[in-house]
Structures are given as C-alpha cells and as structure tokens.
C-alpha cells in the first residue's frame, strides 16, 4: 500500500490494472452500497427519488473514479498549479455567481448539475502543495521563506469556503493541506506555533460564527443529555 512511487515511473495499461489499490476500490464500493440501503430505508422501503438518484450518481462517479485513476500521474504533476488556480477561480465564482440554498452559497449552476468547487478544492490544494514541496529541497523545507506560499495557498481557499459558509468543508481542506505539509517534512514546531496562534484568535473567530454554528460546536462538546425530542435537529442532514 505504501509503495513509494517515483514521479518518473510511467506504467503501462496492464501494470496499472495490477497496481490498482483494490482495498480502496472495494471500500468505496461497499460504502456506496450501504448508503444505497440507507437511502432505500429513508424512502420508506421503496425505490423512490433519493434511492434512484443515489444509484445513478454513484454509478457515474464510480466509473469516473476508475477513469481518472488511469490518467498518468505525470499529468497531475504537470497540471497541479493550473488545477489549483482553476478551482480557486471557481470558488471565487461561487462567491459572486453561486447558487444560494438553505442560507449558504456553495454551488455553481452548470445547468445539467450543480458543482460544489469547495469539494474540488480539497484535491486541488493537496495537488498544489505536493508539487510545491516536491520542488523544495529538504534543506530549505523548514526555512521561513518557503512557508509563505503554502500558507497563502492554504488560507485563501479556506477563507472563501468558510464564508460561504461551510465550516465543515473548510476544516477538511485545511486538514488536507496541513497533513501534506507535515508529510513533506515541515517541522512539528511550526504546527505547534500555528495551533497556539489559532487558539489565541479563537475567541475572536467565534464571534464571526453564526448562532447555529455556535450551538453546533457547543453541542458537540456537551454531554448527550439533550431532550430526546429534538436531538435530530442538532445535526445537519
């Protein structure tokens, strides 16, 4: 699973099939099937809108996932900056042309589907940082000079996403970026410093949160002694 693969290696079609991460493929497949049952159950035990649309989408995107995995890794390496900026502009587009639903603006209307660029940004940021750190030599890895770009690349999309508002996705984007930086060899102390800084600004950050977001966070920390009648409403469905 953890075979380090050089960026230069270019596998043939056959090798690709054999080197597939089958555990991942099956995990996703099982997850998709389980969620199909969940949908079937919420539809009241019938094949209705939610179940059908889930099956359709899962099928399409599972095929897409297989297709994408056949693209040579070199392609992703070459295009990663471009991809990042493309997604970033999409996020910007959301800010001005996005669809608003349930009080948040997260989607771009592509007429045949609604695209949520923040989801793409999760991958985009990882690609960007991976390429960036690949180019930085191990000696320069922890010099302050090389920290600026990753931090800006990390914070810019997070600000865009969290003002949509979509706290959950922005946290995921952040953690994806932070893990890549850490894997690349950035020293632990930088993370500790920024965690400290983050905690210090927390009181101010919280004041920017919406009331329902606050109560969501509070509820997460509170013990589960809620009245049994309304506990469902504390979770976004």
């Amino acid at each position: 699973m953890l075979k380090p693969r050089s960026i230069q290696s270019s596998l043939g079609f056959r090798d690709k099939i054999f080197s597939f991460d089958y555990i991942l493929v099956f995990s996703i497949l099982i997850l998709g099937i389980i969620s199909m049952f969940a949908m079937y159950s919420t539809d009241g035990g019938e094949f209705k809108y939610h179940t059908n649309s889930h099956i359709l989408r899962f099928f399409i995107f599972f095929c897409l996932f297989l297709l994408v995995s056949f693209i040579q890794i070199r392609f992703w390496h070459n295009q990663s900056y471009l991809i990042y900026f493309l997604f970033f502009f999409l996020l910007l587009g959301v800010k001005y042309f996005g669809l608003t639903s349930s009080g948040s603006r997260r989607w771009l209307d592509l007429y045949f589907m609604n695209l949520q660029p923040s989801e793409l940004m999760k991958v985009g940021l990882i690609l960007f940082l991976a390429k960036y750190y690949h180019r930085v030599s191990i000696e320069n890895m922890n010099s302050i000079r090389y920290l600026f770009v990753p931090i800006i690349a990390l914070i810019a999309p997070i600000i865009l996403v969290s003002t949509q508002p979509d706290l959950g996705t922005s946290i995921l984007i952040a953690s994806g970026g932070i893990v890549v930086a850490w894997l690349a060899g950035v020293r632990i102390k930088f993370f500790a410093y920024s965690a400290l800084l983050f905690t210090a600004t927390l009181p101010i950050a919280i004041s920017f949160l919406k009331p329902y977001q606050k109560s969501r966070i509070l509820n997460f920390f509170k013990s589960r002694k809620r009245s049994s009648r309304c506990w469902l409403s504390n979770y976004p469905i």
Binding site: L2, P4, I7, Q8, R135, S137, I138, E139, V179, W182, L183, A184, G185, S228, R229, L232
Partner: protein
C-alpha cells in the same frame, strides 16, 4: 528542477515514508476508535437505543373500554352506551398553548373559566398526558374541529363511548358513573391500569357494585409517528375488552310505572318475588338524572339536588331508615305465638289507651277497639292489644324473631349505600346508648316505634318470608339461572299433593331454612293480614282488590315523626293539618295474590300521613301491574330453563 540531488531525494522519501507510517498509525487509531464506538452503540447498548428509537418511532393512544350493559329481566337496556365525540389535547405536541387556546376558542364554545382550569390542569400533569378540552361535542362542532385540525397542533379528536340511561326511573338502583377521582384511584385497586382520559367509574348502586367486572379492559392503538409526532401508520390496535353485561331481575315497565306513581312524593317501593328473592322493582322517589353525572355535573343542578329536602340522591329503599311502625305487628304476633305467650283466642279490651307504670299509652283509635283478639288486633292495627302482647313477650324475644326475618342486617351484598337499620334489645341499648332498658320502651317497640329502624327493602324481605310460608330466601338483583330450592319444593308439592313432608325432611331434601317453629303460626299471620286488607274494618279495606287474581293481604303502618301533645290529641288534629315535615311516614307491606302468593311489596311514603291512605293505594296499583306481567315473566323463566 525535477530531479534534485539523489541523496536529498533518498532522505526526503525516507522522511515521507516515516511520516506516512505515523499518519497511517494515527488513522488506524481513529479507525479503531470509530469501530469501537460503533460496537458499543450497536451491540452493547443495542437494547437501550432500540427502545429509545421505538419510543421516538411509536406512540400509543389508550382507548377507554365500553362498559357492560345492564339489562332488565326482559332484556331491555337499563344502562347502555352511546358514541361520544371529544376533543383531547396533548400539551407536549403543541408549540404554543396560549395561541392554541385562542384558536380553539374561535372554533368551539369554551369559556375563559374552562381555559384557565385546563391550563392549571396542564401544569399539574405530565406534558404527554392528554387533557380533555371538550367531552361531549355535537357532530357539527366535531366536524369543524376536524376541518381545522391541520392548524391545531396537539389537538386530537376522539370518538369514544359514554354511559347513557334511557330514563330516570331506575336511577337509584343502577347508580351513576362519573370521572375517576383521586380517591377512587387510591381506594379501588382494579383501577390501577385503567387510567385513560374520559374513563368513568361507577359511584353508586349497581354501577358501583359491579364496577370491577362491568368496566372492561383498556385497549390501545400503537402508531408509527414521524419526528414531529404526527401519526404515519397504525401498527397495532387492541380494542380492549368491553365489560361484562349483566341481566338484572328488575322489570323496566314496572320501574317506569312505579316511578310515575311516586311523582312529587318522597317515597320508596320495593317488589320482590317471594320464592327466589328476585327484586322486580326498586324505586326511590324523587329521582335524579343519572345522565347528568356522566359528563361532569352542572353546578346548578348539583346544588338543586343537595338542597332538595326530599333528598333525591338517597336511595330510600336501601339507605332510608324508618321505624317499621305497625308493620312490625305481624312479627310481634308471630313471635308471641312461637314463644307460646299468647293463643289466638286470647283477648284484651282496648279503651283507646292504657296506663302502665305511670305513663299513658295511646291507641291510634281514640274511642278504642273494644274486645280485641289477635286477628282483630292485626286487622284494626290495635295498638293497645300489641302493648299488652309486647309487654308479655319482652323486647329480647321480639328482636330474635325480627332478626330472623331479615331486619337489622343488609339484604343485598356489596351496595355501599345499603344500611342495616336497628333491631333494639336490652343488650343493644346497653352497648350503644349505655342505659338500661325501660319496660315502656318495650311497648313502643311492640308497635314498631322507638329505637326500631328498618329499610323498605328489609320490610319487603320480611313480608316475602311470611308470604312464602316462613322460609328464608336470599334476595337477588343480578339474575342467574341457579335454581332455587324453594321452587323445587313447590314443584315437588305440586306433583305430590298428598305427600305431607315434615319440616325436618324439607330442610334435608331441599336445603330450606324454616324461620318458624310451627307452620300454623305463619298461616295465622297471613290470614290476619288478609282480614286487614279485605274485611270490613281492616285498615286498608278501602283499597282492596276483589278480583281473586289480584287480591292482596297487607299491613299498614305509620311511623311517628313527632310525638302528639295531649292538646293535639284532645283536639283530634289530623295528619293532613300538620306541617309536611311533621307528618308521619306512611308504610304498607303486602303480598299477592292471597290464594297463591307470588310477590311481596313494601311501600314507604315519607310524611304521607297514614299507611292506609297514602301507601296502600300506591301498593294496590303496583301489585296489579306486577301480577299482570307475571305470565310474561314466567315465559322468560321457562325460556331460560328455570322452573317456576
């Protein structure tokens, strides 16, 4: 740029490899944590969360069972059920109670008083316990509520059943039902699992006596509900069990007839079959509306009931205590005969009064009855004759006979309101009053005054046991097919008319308990009662029926409320001239037909004056009605496989 120094690359991939390993380990830890939590939730605490989610998913509504029906001997319904439209409110299902009440007020006609009462009730109860907003709606209001139901969160329209009585004629013996009170819940164990809104329990009479069996078993409806508590699907329904229905020995036609006769009077009537003790009619007047109690009593009506001097809520037949007056003379004479104190030929001279131990004892006939024997004594109801007999007999021997014939103890079982009355004797006075017995009190007891207290049903039982030849019967109001031994005996006698069975053989063969020593003594008393009703000079001669089919033999009585002063006696004041409250109670006991007795009756008219003028005419009409319906009754008995 793509290929920095190879040494650096190796270090870099080593570093990345190490960190990926750490990351994977961290992921594994998180994964283990997640799986562990899942196991804990889904397996270890499965029952807890299953029941929690079922509680969320399912909601139960309890259903009040239908009360059993009470029928008369001819299967007429005396107490039945009717559909009832109610509006209940479950406070926890409503977001804004105040707003809801305003809305409800617009739809139904609810007073502010009722609303504040409901609010107080809601504060006292648990939020999921329903309150009844309106317990008896007409169809128009009920359908209007259903129309607006979508905007009335927490309101539930309910179709239920309620007790209903066809009329008021049997109100006292049937009793009434009403909402369960806190006291009921405490004192009646069978109500423990029966607390359903709108449930009623029997408070008096048969409804109370039969409550445990007639009330039925509570049912429930289980629904699957959504997150807002709205019913989605019915999962299970248990309609409960309606209560057991009962057939009584009452005759609804006679009840109605009697009730009509007693209109505007304070009176009590009891009619009994003399062989099996079936109570054919039991009416107390004035009556009340039992239907008014079912849906919460109107305050004005309640006040009018409790302020009425004629006491409409009291069942006078079972809880009214009256001195038996001259009706006791039948037992005084019987007791004296049985104890060998007198013979039928013994006579006394009645001069209108006698003086004993320095006290004057008056006869009701101021002029006196002249020479009086036992038959004439009962016929004319001569007080002086019975003063003399009582003096010789003594109160203790009288009380033994009186108790044997059913005075001084409850006649029916399990009626909370039935009273046992008083049969006085020397021991009783010592115990309850703490004084010695005076001989003068014996004389008063001899004419049924003084300490004597009896209920009309006791007097009826006494008469029935004289009429059937002196055998003990057990009165009943709930019909059952069990054969009565006295009936067997009669059948035997009819089949073997020439087979004179001695009494002890009767007792052995038919399990009969004779209340006499000598059969002839009973016959003498019956004959004397016949003369009282059917021979000139008898106290109820005016109201006789000559048709032998209906001819009855009876005894009048009047129980004194207030002693006459000498001045009143001299002025010959008539009862009718007295204040209503001061007039005597009028009593009459009888059995009929004389030749082949079948029924006994007792009539008490409060403040009616004399038994001959106030009670006997009522008895006469009822006797006629009852005997006219005897053949119908016999048919039913045959059909039920009972021998008569």
């Amino acid at each position: 740029m793509l290929s920095p120094g190879s040494g650096s690359t190796v270090i870099k991939s080593k570093l990345i490899g190490r960190r990926i390993f750490l990351l994977t380990a961290a992921k594994a830890v998180v994964m283990v944590g997640l799986v562990g939590r899942l196991i804990s939730l889904q397996i270890n605490q499965a029952t807890k969360y299953k029941s929690l989610s079922d509680k969320n998913r399912f909601r139960e509504w309890k259903l009040a069972p239908e009360r059993g029906v009470i029928r008369d001997f001819f299967d007429q319904e005396l107490a039945s059920n009717e559909p009832l439209y109610q509006v209940h409110l479950v406070p926890e299902n409503s977001n804004n109670l105040n707003q809801l009440f305003v809305r409800l007020k617009g739809i139904l006609d609810i007073s502010d008083k009722k609303i504040s009462y409901l609010k107080r009730l809601i504060n006292k109860q648990k939020p999921w316990e329903p309150v009844i907003v309106s317990d008896n709606l007409n169809w128009a209001d009920f359908s209007r509520i259903n129309l607006f139901l979508h905007e009335l969160d927490g309101v539930e329209p309910i179709v239920s059943v309620a007790r209903t009585y066809p009329d008021n004629s049997s109100a006292h013996i049937l009793g009434y039902v009403s909402q369960i009170s806190a006291k009921d819940l405490k004192t009646k164990k069978y109500l423990k699992d029966l607390s359903v809104p709108g449930m009623t329990v029997g408070k008096t009479g048969l409804e109370r006596k039969l409550d445990e069996k007639i009330i039925g078993k509570v049912g429930f409806q289980r629904y699957e509900v959504n997150a807002f508590g709205k019913r989605i699907k019915e999962i299970q329904i248990n309609k409960g069990q309606s209560g057991i229905s009962f057939k009584t020995t009452l005759d609804y036609e006679v009840q109605k007839y009697t009730n009509e006769l007693l209109k505007d009077k304070a009176a009590a009537v009891c009619v009994m079959d003399i062989y099996n003790g079936d109570i054919v009619s039991l009416v107390s007047a004035p009556t009340f509306q039992p239907n008014a109690f079912v849906h919460g009593l109107d305050k004005d009506y309640w006040n009018s009931l409790i302020k009425d001097g004629k006491k409409p809520l009291t069942n006078k037949v079972m809880s009214g205590l009256y001195p038996p007056g001259s009706t006791i003379k039948t037992l005084v004479a019987l007791s004296a005969l049985e104890n060998g104190i007198i013979k039928t030929s013994d006579t006394f001279r009645c001069k209108g009064k006698i003086e004993l131990y320095g006290e004057k004892f008056h006869c009701w006939e101021k002029k006196g009855h002249g020479i009086v024997n036992l038959r004439k004594g009962i016929q004319r109801s001569c007080d002086v004759y019975f003063y003399e007999v009582a003096r010789k007999l003594g109160v203790d021997r009288l009380s033994v006979t009186a108790k044997k014939f059913g005075l001084g103890k409850q006649v029916l079982s399990d009626f909370v309101e039935e009273r046992s009355g008083v049969v006085p004797n020397t021991k009783w006075k010592k115990k309850f009053i703490g004084q010695n017995w005076y001989i003068g009190e014996t004389l008063h007891s001899g004419i049924g005054q003084g300490y004597f207290q009896s209920t009309p049903i006791q007097l009826c039982l006494m008469t029935a046991q004289i009429a059937n030849g002196g055998f003990e019967i057990k009165p009943r109001i709930i019909y059952d097919k069990s054969n009565n031994n006295l009936r067997e005996y009669i059948n035997y006698k009819n089949e073997n008319p020439n087979d004179p069975l001695p009494t002890d053989l009767l007792v052995k063969n038919f399990n009969l308990k004779p209340l006499f020593e000598n059969k002839n003594h009973i016959k003498i008393i019956k004959d004397a009662m016949f003369s009282s009703s059917n021979e000139p000079g008898g106290t109820s001669y005016r109201h006789r029926i000559e048709n032998p089919k209906f001819t009855f033999a009876g005894k009048t009585g009047s129980s004194q409320i207030k002693r006459f002063t000498e001045a009143q006696r001299e002025a010959e004041v008539k009862q009718i001239d007295l204040n209503y409250k001061d007039r005597d109670h009028a009593l009459f006991i009888a059995f009929a037909p004389y030749k082949d007795p079948k029924y006994a009756i007792s009539v008490v008219v409060e403040h009616g004056g004399s038994g001959g003028s106030a009670a006997a005419p009522i008895a006469k009409k009822i006797i006629k009605k009852v005997i006219e319906r005897h053949d119908l009754r016999k048919e039913i008995s045959y059909a039920e496989g009972d021998s008569i």
